[in-house]
Symmetry: C2
Subunit: 144 residues, 2 copies
């Protein structure tokens, strides 16, 4: 999660909403990413999506069975579904996201009958550091 | 929708689940795509995601206000959320997807308090042709 937080910090420095994600398989980091929506003009380039796409590219496979994903913020519905499609084994996330989350809020994707693979979910890891990064980022935006 | 169906047909010929999508803005096709999950080893490369990413790239912008999306199958939760993030104005889709849909089934993303932009939704357009493509594809798979 420390590396995911470092990716979130790096995202903030690029002017992106500070969220970071890391894909780990067998104790090895396969891919790491921060949000890239602005720099790439890509509304789907959330940290989780970018990290999953990179990990699949690195491994040359469409799915990531046995891999775990660490992300600093509760995934939205888009990312929650992508994590399911990638067959991620365990999802560790930091802060909850009441406004946009799709795991413990809103769509609650893993509880739906349309979800055909749910990862084990562990939340609250590094949540204070994650929240502080997000708060600092949006406070800075308001002060501009 | 005829062009989206042609993209779905082309996807089937590549061995991909036959779903196609088209982004239209001001009467002009900005991007068209079929599923590319297998050929790209990318579980996020659903037709809608690929078409939205291409349209954003073509226009050099992160969002597509005023644009409409035509897709042959009810979007899943991942794509429904991506359509929202892209600020798509109108979503036209073909067949419903009871097992995996995220608009009228499961996550019902546009009805959630975590959804901050919902497109107008029109369904059932070209649904018989879409369903026939999907049925033919999966029947062919079973017969292999």
């Amino acid at each position: 999660m420390q590396i995911a937080l470092a990716e979130a910090q790096a995202a903030a420095e690029r002017g992106e909403v500070p969220v970071g994600a890391v894909v780990v398989l067998g104790g090895t980091i396969i891919a790491r990413a921060g949000n890239e929506t602005r720099q790439n003009n890509d509304p789907t380039a959330h940290a989780e999506i970018v990290a999953i796409r990179r990990a699949c590219e690195v491994l040359g496979q469409e799915r990531l069975p046995g891999a775990d994903l660490y992300v600093t913020l509760e995934p939205c519905a888009m990312c929650a579904a992508a994590i399911s499609f990638a067959r991620i084994r365990r999802l560790y996330f930091g802060a909850i996201d009441e406004k946009g989350g799709g795991v413990e809020h809103g769509a609650r994707f893993y509880s739906q009958p349309t979800c055909h693979h749910a990862p084990e979910v562990y939340s609250g890891i590094g949540d204070i550091a994650s929240t502080n990064l997000l708060r600092g980022f949006f406070r800075g935006k308001r002060d501009l």
